[in-house]
Amino acid sequence: MRNFPLFPDQASTFAGQVDALYWALVGLSLLFGGVLPFVILFLMVRYHRSNKAVDRLNQVHSNLALELTWSGIPLLLVMGVFFWGAFLYVHIRTPPKQTLEVYVIGKQWMWHAQHPNGKRENNELHVPINRPVRLIMTSQDVIHSFYIPAFRVKQDVLPGRYTSLWFEATQPGEYHLFCAEYCGTEHSLMVGRVVALSMADYERWLVTPGEVILPDGSSGAAAAPPALVPAAGDPMALVGEQLFTNLGCAGCHRMDGAGIGPSLQGLYGSQERMSDGAVVTADENYLRTSILNPGAQITAGYQNVMPSYANQLSEDQINQLIAYIKSLSDGGTGAMSGGASSGSGATTSGASGAATGGAGEAPAFDAALAAQGKQVFTNLGCVGCHRSDGAGIGPALEGLYNSEQRLADGSVVTADEAYLIESIRNAPAKIAEGYQPVMPVYGNQLSDDQVRQLVEYIKSLGD
């Protein structure tokens, strides 16, 4: 029977529970669907017009008691089924507190998963048995659906947000992994296997080298084979922390809470009050939105100054950032990152003060525009990195205008207006020596007027 199964494997804690309800429903269905056809067959034969021996007089054409009976009994039964199913559903949708979290990215037509220690895999999912596993999933393109029949779990995977599902595998083995939501040409090839292992085997697998395709590495063109990268890497939280530092997030999101952005320590899972009075739970979707569209939900007591990182981070990188932010709420793991970003000295209010005071011998500039530029500079959060004392992760801007700047590639340029504009619009083009390319590309997010204002402000800081 191996090649002709009639019932799926039961390989998770849900499988037995779902199947019990299923068989109960099959039983109830047989009660109606199995008996009713025979009642109809009996009536068909007994009252066929060729049978003259039966009484056809004294017909009944309605009977309230009968109607209420055959409405009431099915109603009670379906209500029973509903509540049984509802409690089971709530259980299936409520993950336990402690879960192993695996990040899954779906794309046309491939699954990509990354485990907390950084190990990656394509079209496979290795999980330990007897341990609740929670998948945090998103899609890079269209809607997919992550489906493991043997575990009786399925969850659509949407672009632009996280969905999650959890399960606890019980039987070591290999099981089908399907994409269940139609997603285009090779939908039926977006399949793979789930490998359930004992904890020891899983831990061994986690450090096994291998090669994978990154989710953003093989998009579209089938001409060139996608590049393979090593499957093992640094832990997600660590890579996330590096990103956090490189992007300059640390300048504002100071762990001591003194930054112009809120501290992220203990944020994940907490209840946060927003500036509009709403209280939201800081889950993965909240963190995601706050990175990609920071203006959507502003924490009470803070300003809308964070730039949007939409289109600048891959899904992979967002996952890593979120893994890092979540590690700040798990107690011990977060502590290692605190020191790295908080050693940068003076407060931001001091920084803006110095910026004002530093305008000693200012060149000709438009004072009105410069005042507006200062506002933009603050609102965009530039001050977090371009600190006037030079201790920021971006260079200080005092005396920058018209000075000779040595760049990272060794060349020397004059910091004229064109240079300032280019550095605002497309920061990575010319990186000042000794600094990292971490400044976001402001591209078309700023109007020409705003750039003009910023340039006048920078000119006002002296040459």
């Binding site: 109606f32 009252y47 039966v54 056809r56 309605s62 089924v81 046309q108 043997a150 399925k154």
Partner: protein
């Protein structure tokens, strides 16, 4: 005899010798009966086309590999099958053909309230159909009939716009028919024809029309928004443009779940007529059947979320939608029980329409009960988007709507054409369809619970035996659908003259000639009795008069 002439004054009769005028007399007719015939031809054409696409799908699925066609062609095939069958066959089938023909006759009216609107609805249907067909001819569309975003709005490289336009235009055809039926039922009933004297088919048409008029605009909006996003990149559904992909699913299912009832409510109406006529007695629990149609029409608007249990809808919404889904099982059960009770103490004959009606009950019970499985969220998580769902909705739509449609066509064929079809071939093909249908779709329940996802071009080898069984059943089913086409066509030439009331049925449509004259009735009838006014001794007398050799 077979060559005997039909009544000269029938609506089919033309005395013009010119072909051009004859064509004009059909294409510019405002006679509801002729429009029904136009619909009959067009809808059956689309049914065959949709069936052809299904044939290719089933042939491909005989082997686990993709060997007959490429993935892209396969995806276009099942999309074509779905779009054609849903929008151009199932939704208009019973209302536009049987409803159009029968509603005025059953109400004792000379025509529908708005005859020209009726003709317009046929042209809209054809116009929409031409768009959908041109999309297929120009390379097809690969989104599935559900057009889920952002795949349909951004990623698909197929003729989405043309197909959407076709469905959009077709929606207006539905709305025109719905408005017409509502107005006709309210204003054109014959003297004495009170609401509770209406045939249950009219109640079903009325409930269907309400759903059509209220729900169809929403899908029109949803499809329009997809087109806007696709054409101009306005961010509505695609998160990359700032949209919300779930918004589309809400809008789409707000129509498409009620659309399921647009397909099945008319079928309920047909079955009520058939069961009563061929039991030779009044329908059991008339009011309960009538009101259960209205209950289904109303509750049908409140369950769309049960298509979205795994779409990331909140737990609480899912529970509410699941609860209402459970409730909607009850009015359907009420109907089935009342039909069964009607058989008791009747005089039952096994004429072809009755075989379809009894087959309908059996298949609809399975379709309805598996609907409860899907309404329970914990089970739906496992089986949604698998062959379990595919099997379920084919039981409801093919086992339900198509069985009722064929039963109704056979039942009213003598009224529509004036001639009888071949009863023996009728019975044989009804049985072939019943067996072929179960062979095709019952294995798919097993496949679905095993985890076989729908819309899969290639699949794991262990599912092959069940797929082969299903494809074998589809062959039988196809034979069952082809036989009626042959004998019904032949009956137009060689069929026995039916007479006004071959089934000895009640109902105003049987009181006029077969085929009816253009204005239906010589004089507007006056109604003094309820719809199924069989005398109390009708069943007993029918059995007493039966002799060996009479029809079974």
């Amino acid at each position: 005899m077979a060559t005997t002439a039909l009544p000269q004054r029938g609506y089919l009769h033309d005395d013009t010798p010119h072909l051009g005028e004859w064509i004009r007399s059909w294409l510019f007719t405002v006679d509801h009966k002729r429009i029904a015939i136009l619909y009959l031809l067009a809808i059956n054409f689309f049914f065959l086309l949709g069936g052809l696409a299904a044939t290719f799908v089933r042939i491909e699925l005989i082997t686990p590999q993709g060997d007959l066609m490429s993935s892209d062609v396969y995806n276009r095939m099942f999309t074509l099958h779905g779009v054609i069958m849903i929008f151009f066959f199932l939704i208009p089938a019973i209302p536009a053909v049987l409803g159009n023909f029968l509603l005025p006759l059953m109400l004792g009216a000379r025509d529908l309230a708005f005859p020209r609107l009726n003709l317009l609805s046929w042209y809209l249907y054809m116009f929409g159909g031409i768009f959908a067909l041109s999309a297929a001819v120009l390379g097809g569309v690969d989104t599935g009939w559900t057009f889920y975003t952002p795949f349909s709005s951004t990623y698909s490289n197929s003729n989405v716009i043309l197909t959407i336009t076709g469905a959009f235009i077709m929606g207006f055809s539905s709305i025109a028919t719905g408005v017409n039926f509502i107005a006709t039922t309210h204003k054109m009933r014959a003297p004495g024809l009170t609401w509770f004297r209406l045939p249950l088919f009219v109640w079903a048409m009325y409930a269907t029309s309400l759903v059509i008029v209220l729900a169809t605009p929403v899908v029109g909006i949803a499809l329009l928004l997809v087109a806007i996003e696709r054409l101009w990149g306005v961010g509505i559904f695609d998160p990359a443009l700032g949209g919300d992909p779930l918004l589309f699913q809400h809008l789409f299912w707000f129509y498409s779940h009620p659309a399921v009832y647009i397909m099945i409510l008319p079928a309920f109406g047909v079955i009520s007529e058939l069961i009563s006529t061929f039991s030779r007695k009044r329908i059991f629990g008339y009011e309960f059947i009538a009101f259960s149609s209205m209950a289904i029409a109303i509750l049908g608007f409140l369950v769309w979320g049960h298509h979205m249990f795994v779409s990331s809808q909140s737990v609480y919404s899912s529970l509410v939608f699941s609860f209402i889904t459970m409730l909607i099982a009850i009015p359907s059960a009420i109907k089935v029980f009342n039909w069964t009770a009607t058989l008791y103490k009747g005089s039952i004959s096994y004429r072809t329409p009755m075989l379809y009606a009894l087959g309908f009950i059996g298949l609809f019970v399975i379709g309805g009960l598996t609907g409860i499985f899907l309404g329970v969220v914990a089970i739906d998580i496992h089986v949604t988007d698998t062959y379990f769902v595919v099997a379920h909705f084919h039981y409801v739509m093919v086992g339900g709507t198509i069985m009722a449609y064929l039963g109704g066509i056979h039942f009213w064929w003598p009224k529509m054409t004036g001639r009888m079809y071949n009863e023996i071939w009728g019975g044989i093909s009804a049985l072939i369809i019943f067996v072929g249908f179960n062979m095709t779709f019952f294995p798919q329940f097993v496949l679905g619970y095993l985890g076989m996802p729908r819309r899969y071009h290639v699949y794991p080898e262990e599912f092959q035996i069940l797929h082969v069984l299903s494809s074998a059943g589809a062959t039988v089913l196809a034979v069952g659908f082809i036989i009626p086409i042959i004998y019904l066509m032949l009956s137009l030439k060689t069929g026995r003259i039916a007479g006004d009331n071959p089934w000895d049925a009640t109902g105003l449509e049987w009181k006029t000639t077969s085929p009816p004259p253009t204005h239906n009735f010589e004089a507007i009838p006056v109604v003094t009795t309820e719809a199924y006014a069989y005398p109390p001794e009708a069943a007993a007398r029918d059995a007493a008069e039966w002799r060996p050799g009479s029809p079974l």
